[in-house]
């Protein structure tokens, strides 16, 4: 069965995000005074073949842990859909 894994990777809260800071300053200078914080990250959409949703979850987690995410600076969450 084909599943779609949507994976969000963000910098850990303890890690400064210079890109996010720069975007926040740009938003402020454009007059978006309500913007208080910006954190940037990465988004992956992976189509994968698996026997079940549980197996697709396991596969997605392994992909994150082995390659997609660097746990020193990043954390992730994901969803699996059919």
């Amino acid at each position: 069965m084909l599943f779609k894994a949507t994976i969000n990777a963000t910098l850990r809260k303890s890690v400064l995000d210079p890109q996010g800071q720069t975007v926040l300053h740009a938003l402020e200078s454009l007059g978006f005074k309500d913007a208080k914080n910006v954190r940037m990250g990465k988004f992956f959409e992976i189509t994968l073949n698996a026997e079940s949703k549980t197996k697709a979850e396991t596969a997605a987690r392994e992909m994150c842990d082995k390659l997609l995410i660097n746990p020193v600076i990043e954390e992730y969450s994901f969803e699996i859909s059919e």
């Binding site: 390659l67 660097n70 600076i73």
Partner: protein, 229 residues
């Protein structure tokens, strides 16, 4: 001493490293394509600078899975020497041969300029010909050299004298103003606990010949040659 320079798709300082080792330091050196599963007989492995795999995903993240990296890990585990320069440092971090990770420079700019480095430790084989506190001029050229590690890892690096180079002023003062990229604790280069693997963002191979602005990079090659004679 014999040396091997690993060439990844996107490496661009491989030839400079090769040239300095062969023509300046008079050391036998060869290139090793990243697809090789075994290394030639060598004392030193050089992971050169560049943009391996286009820096896609994260700097060094894909190069660490190259077949040659398994051989490099084995070489390091046997206590032999590895130096990773710039992208080579990033690959060593991704391969977990050194602790920590790289973030974008805090200015978000690619920075290419000569900087001053204070030698923090001379007990490593990479700096045995330097004096503690000596200041070297070596250029940097990177967009992601903002070294990060958590508090516990930083404490270990300090306690075990694994910080080898810090960004400093010309007279050796380590301050935030002379930190070019936002690295924690002004870190420019570290070794592993066994002290046989060095990662550094500055490029000693670009400061090893009189025709260039500085020959301070030679201190590192001379230290290694002295150890491995």
């Amino acid at each position: 001493m014999r040396a091997a320079v690993i060439v990844f798709p996107g490496s661009n300082c491989d030839t400079d490293c090769f040239n300095v080792l062969r023509d300046v330091m008079k050391t036998p050196v060869e290139f090793v394509w990243h697809k090789e599963r075994a290394l030639p007989k060598t004392d030193l492995v050089v992971l050169p600078g560049g943009f391996s795999y286009g820096d896609y995903l994260r700097t060094g993240a894909i190069a660490r899975f190259s077949p040659a990296m398994e051989a490099v890990k084995k070489h390091a585990a046997e206590g032999r020497y590895v130096i990773g320069i710039c992208n080579g440092f990033q690959i060593l971090l991704e391969a977990a041969l050194l602790p920590g990770a790289m973030l974008r420079n805090r200015s978000l700019s690619f920075i290419c300029k000569p900087v001053w480095l204070r030698v923090e430790d001379t007990s490593s084989s990479f700096t045995s010909h330097c004096k503690k506190g000596e200041v070297l001029q070596i250029p940097i050229a990177h967009g992601e050299g903002n070294y990060y590690c958590d508090d516990a890892a930083l404490k270990t690096l300090r306690d075990k004298s694994q910080i080898i180079f810090r960004y400093s002023s010309r007279d050796g003062r380590v301050t935030d103003e002379v930190n070019p990229n936002g690295s924690r604790d002004n870190i420019a280069g570290i070794v592993n606990e066994k002290r046989n693997v060095l990662g550094m963002m500055p490029h000693p191979e670009r400061a090893s010949e009189e025709i260039l602005a500085s020959v301070d990079g030679r201190r590192i090659w001379e230290s290694l040659l002295g150890e491995l004679k």
